[in-house]
């Protein structure tokens, strides 16, 4: 996720995942009766997708 001191695409996507995670309790756009559990599943699947890219595709992985 880091190459020569800079974030790779996967690194940036991981930052997005972290921001989405940490801001979840205060994110007004997702705070809906039907959506919150779905939101968790979407973010976790997004994380899983990044993980697949990191472990199978990154050069230094």
């Amino acid at each position: 996720m880091v190459k020569e001191g800079s974030l790779t695409t996967n690194g940036w996507m991981f930052v997005v995942f972290l921001v989405l995670t940490i801001t979840t309790p205060i994110n007004p756009f997702i705070n809906h009766r039907y959506f919150n559990i779905l939101w968790y599943a979407i973010v976790a699947l997004f994380a899983l997708w990044i993980l697949v890219r990191v472990v199978f595709e990154e050069e230094d992985a």
Partner: protein, 497 residues
């Protein structure tokens, strides 16, 4: 239907479950008297059993009652727990891809092997091993208490006999089968636990009228995140708590050594992530539907039991078996882990340096019996402080995180920083768990059970980094030994930030 929830059927199900477990151990047990085979399954496990083993070990005895209970109490506000597991697989990969090759090259079987060797620290090796064993025993006992209570309640078996059955069978197959036997029983135990969850969620959601009806019936406190400090603290606190300890817990961390190759580990990490996602969704939904069926005001660990008894009595035997399977999967891994630490880190390290591998395994087997007897004694006496001791298990293991990451990825990581950070972290964690009123208020308090461990971890990490900046780093030649292994495995120069 009544027959399926009768005490006889439930007890019979437990006996069938135990018989299958013992059969699995007889088929897959460690057969060589070498430490590598007995403690880390010969480093030959494929990604599917290893993933099941990680997930089954994460699912301790109380998880189907306690964690589902948290979702019953707090609804989506408890999802910090779930996000933690989505995050945790990343450090699992980055730690594992460096720990696995050094474990293989230098024949490590325990976490203390690495800490003690890398930092050239007797303190981390010895106190780490002694502390891990001391804190694991009440953890075993807490599993036995849960199993004893649930068997008494649902199968009518006296509490004492439930505790005895768990410990005799659990200790028996662990010392017979070693880590290889334990891992393959974890596949069965994990499949039972996840299978139950999927069936229960679909059945209960269906009879509750479906997802939308359940969400409509729940109060806003359960379906919406509340942006107040308390809820945010709950979210962040559990997030940090759940991220940090599976990576450093002595029994779970061993799975990084047991995998066959780094390529298998890649698949292992992804499958583990997927299974943890499924597990969290199961717990979330079961907690939510329990609120509908059991109603508010129940004790958190009773909600799912009441729900299953009322709405799906045909599932109660399966639930009791699952609670047992979760307890046993945690107990067996902990026993082999504690045994390895005693015989390798303590006896070979400090008492009898020339002990042979065969003798070491023999001593370890006796140690497992001793740990089992101690856990049995605690479980039968049920002292009031046992739950505080269990809280300390997680807190204690969390304190290894800064020095673990530092060792693998930070060139300035120093022995002094690791030792002082770890010792202060453990003392602060113990202090705020046991004597919070005698100490000044925590400067960072995320609330609830994770608070002392999290606060101690922050202090530990700050000390580790600050002291390592001014202290002498590890000798270049010593660190070079590890970097060489990492270079060989990755085929390129290792750059440590």
């Amino acid at each position: 239907m009544m027959g399926l929830s009768s005490p006889t059927f439930i007890f019979g199900s437990i006996l069938v479950y135990l018989a299958i477990t013992v059969w699995i151990v007889s088929k897959y047990r460690s057969r060589e008297d070498t430490e590598e085979d007995f403690y880390v399954a010969g480093r030959s496990v494929g990604y599917i059993p290893n993933s099941f083993s990680i997930v089954a070990t994460v699912m301790s005895g109380g998880i189907y009652l306690g964690t589902v209970g948290w979702f019953y109490l707090k609804g989506v506000s408890f999802l910090g727990y779930g996000f933690a597991y989505a995050f945790m697989v990343f450090p699992l990969w980055y730690i594992g891809k460096r720990l696995w090759p050094v474990g293989k090259a230098l024949n490590y079987s325990t976490s203390q092997d690495f800490y003690g060797d890398f930092y050239q620290s007797d303190l981390l090796r010895l106190l780490g091993a002694v502390g891990s064993i001391i804190f694991l025993i009440p953890y075993f006992a807490s599993n036995a208490v849960a199993m004893g209570i649930i068997l008494e309640r649902f199968a009518g078996v006296p509490y004492v006999w439930g505790v005895l059955l768990l410990l005799v069978v659990g200790v028996g197959y662990s010392l017979w089968g070693g880590m290889r036997g334990v891992i393959y029983t974890d596949v069965f135990q994990g499949a039972l636990a996840l299978g139950f969850g999927v069936v229960a969620v679909f059945y209960l959601l269906n009879i509750a009228g479906g997802f939308f009806k359940v969400m409509d019936a729940l109060p806003k406190t359960h379906t919406h995140f509340s942006p107040d400090a308390l809820s945010f603290g709950l979210f962040i606190g559990w997030f940090i708590f759940m991220v940090s300890h599976p990576l450093t817990f002595a029994d779970r961390m061993t799975r990084i050594y047991t995998i066959r190759s780094l390529d298998e580990f890649r698949r292992n990490v992804v499958l583990t992530g997927a299974m943890l996602l499924l597990m969290v969704l199961i717990f979330t939904f079961l907690g939510m539907v329990s609120y509908i069926f059991a109603g508010p005001g129940q004790k958190m660990d009773q909600a799912i039991l009441i729900t299953i008894q009322k709405q799906a009595p045909w599932l109660i035997a399966w639930l009791v078996v699952v609670v047992w399977a979760c307890g046993m999967s945690t107990l067996d891994s902990g026993l082999v882990g504690a045994d390895a630490m005693l015989s390798k880190d303590i006896i070979r390290g400090y008492i009898k340096k020339d002990i042979s591998q065969k003798q070491s395994i023999k001593v370890g087997r006796w140690a497992m019996i001793a740990f089992g007897l101690l856990a049995m004694w605690i479980a039968l006496a049920r002292p009031p402080y046992v739950w505080a001791l269990v809280k300390l298990v997680v807190m204690f293991n969390m304190q290894f995180l800064p020095l673990l990451i530092g060792a693998l990825y930070w060139k300035r990581a120093s022995k002094l920083g690791a030792e002082i950070g770890w010792c202060v972290g453990v003392l602060v964690g113990i202090g705020y768990t046991w004597f919070p009123s005698a100490l000044p208020p925590m400067l960072i308090n995320v609330g609830g059970a994770p608070a002392p461990g999290f606060y101690a971890l922050v202090i530990n990490a700050i000390l580790f980094v600050a002291i390592s900046h001014v202290a002498s780093p590890l000798p270049a030649e010593h660190r070079g030994k590890f970097e060489k292994i990492w270079n060989e495995k990755s085929g390129q120069t290792v750059t440590t930030p």
